[in-house]
Subunit: 248 residues, 2 copies
DNA sequence: ACTTTTAGACTGACCAGTCAGAACAAAGGA
DNA sequence: TCCTTTGTTCTGACTGGTCAGTCTAAAAGT
């Protein structure tokens, strides 16, 4: 599928079809009529139905398939099959393949930002320094990536692509993750733990990149190593480093 | 296209078609007959013909399109159009879309490894320390990425995908790039500039990741900044850091 | 009673790859 | 200088498989 340039498929956008029950679509560009997906927000929850479980299954199936093959190369039939549901179910739960993907990204990466934030808060509340907080975030990042390598994979593959329909989604999520790191860095500078010359945004993305790439490399090429081990190495790289300027 | 699982298209693999002129193919799994691509090696050169120029144009067109849209979402027709040639020309010059992509990756990323190596050598020969060499490599990396952001994009999107037909190609190239960094790190440790506790492979990939991600972020989100500026920031991050262990 | 899932046939656009011939270049030949 | 020849490179209409998305009637869940 060309993804970027929307097609207009099938029976001409359900032209003039009977409105069917509940046509309250008011999100995403333009839905159609029919039994369609009622709301996009509650990704996995909602007033007690099976939908939550089904959506979860679809996310899980989609994330691994897409990480392996790429978005366009992954077919809806495959996703349905791996999730163990009928193709129609996919379309009952998501307006389109694109929407499924977009919600998947949002759902997943939200978790990362949250997890980083919590790790930082915990470290600071436990009386650690800001650098300790950074270290805790590295650990949290590694744990998260180890737990969802496919998702990380997707994230890395998509983030810097411009012109994709789900770019806005990704950008906003990226913003959240980076913001967490940046705020810790800012605090650290304010408190005097780090040099004032520090370029906050750039350092934040460099750190994120360091963890991301190191983690993916670890999982791909040295999977036998333990998280602790990897964390220790990165930590050493950080500890000696993001500290106050040295003379010279 | 499903890319990973090869299709079998068109008229049954040119069944029994007239061999046509020059059928000396002896590379790539199994070519067919016909006027086909004569050799894959000379990406852009060769005994004086137009092919070189055409291939270059196709590489250029393909790299940007694929960086923007992804491999499967990019059609051969688009590539041909952007390159200003007919679709048939693509297939005259490359056995398939896959092969085009593979050669493109090889061609491009080879340049990166070479450029890193040269930068390192230059720094060392100029009498600098190993850390200076690392610094020079960061700079070379930034320059390279700034010059070919699309290529970098592709690289990042593909590297950790398993199960792709061009994985071997990428792996070998990645190996070359990482090897350059690792050798400098190893030297530095040997000479005593860096701690012996340093985890060479992991640090190498972390550094590469740092530069990669920082550069892509820079180009995407703060394009107005100068290379010098970005380099300085990363350099600071490095200088204070990958140095001998500190007490404590 | 209402919501969700099923199986799968169907549609229409789409796209990788093909092929027969046209355009082009180099090297004589008159 | 102007053909003719021969091999190379390019062209674009065409073929046949593929896939997103639709639809239906009935079954399953709550």
């Amino acid at each position: 599928m060309r993804t970027e340039r929307p097609r207009r498929h099938g029976g001409g956008a359900t032209s003039g079809a009977a409105p069917g029950p509940g046509a309250r679509a008011a999100e995403h560009g333009a839905h159609k009529a029919g039994p369609e997906p009622r709301d996009a927000a509650p990704a996995v929850s909602g007033p007690g139905l099976r939908r939550g479980a089904t959506r979860r299954k679809l996310f899980d199936a989609a994330v691994t398939l897409i990480a392996e093959q790429g978005f366009s190369a992954t077919t809806v039939d495959e996703i349905a099959e791996r999730a163990g549901v009928a193709k129609g179910t996919v379309y009952y739960n998501f307006a389109s393949k694109n929407v499924l993907y977009e919600e998947l990204l949002r759902d997943g990466v939200d978790l990362l930002a949250t997890s980083l934030q919590e790790a930082a808060d915990r470290a600071v509340h436990a009386g650690g320094t800001r650098v300790d907080a950074l270290d805790a975030m590295i650990r949290a990042g590694l744990d998260f990536i180890a737990g969802s390598p496919s998702l990380t994979q997707l994230y890395v593959a998509e983030l810097w692509r411009t012109n994709r329909v789900w770019q806005p989604t990704l950008q906003s999520v990226r913003g959240r993750a980076v913001a967490v790191v940046e705020s810790v860095l800012r605090d650290a500078v304010a408190v005097g733990e780090l040099s004032e010359e520090l370029d906050i945004p750039l350092t934040a993305s460099a750190l994120l990149g360091m963890v991301l790439v190191a983690a993916l490399d670890w999982l791909s090429f040295q999977p036998h190593r333990s998280v602790e081990d990897v964390h220790a190495s990165l930590s050493r790289l950080l500890q000696g480093r993001v500290s106050p300027v040295r003379p010279g």
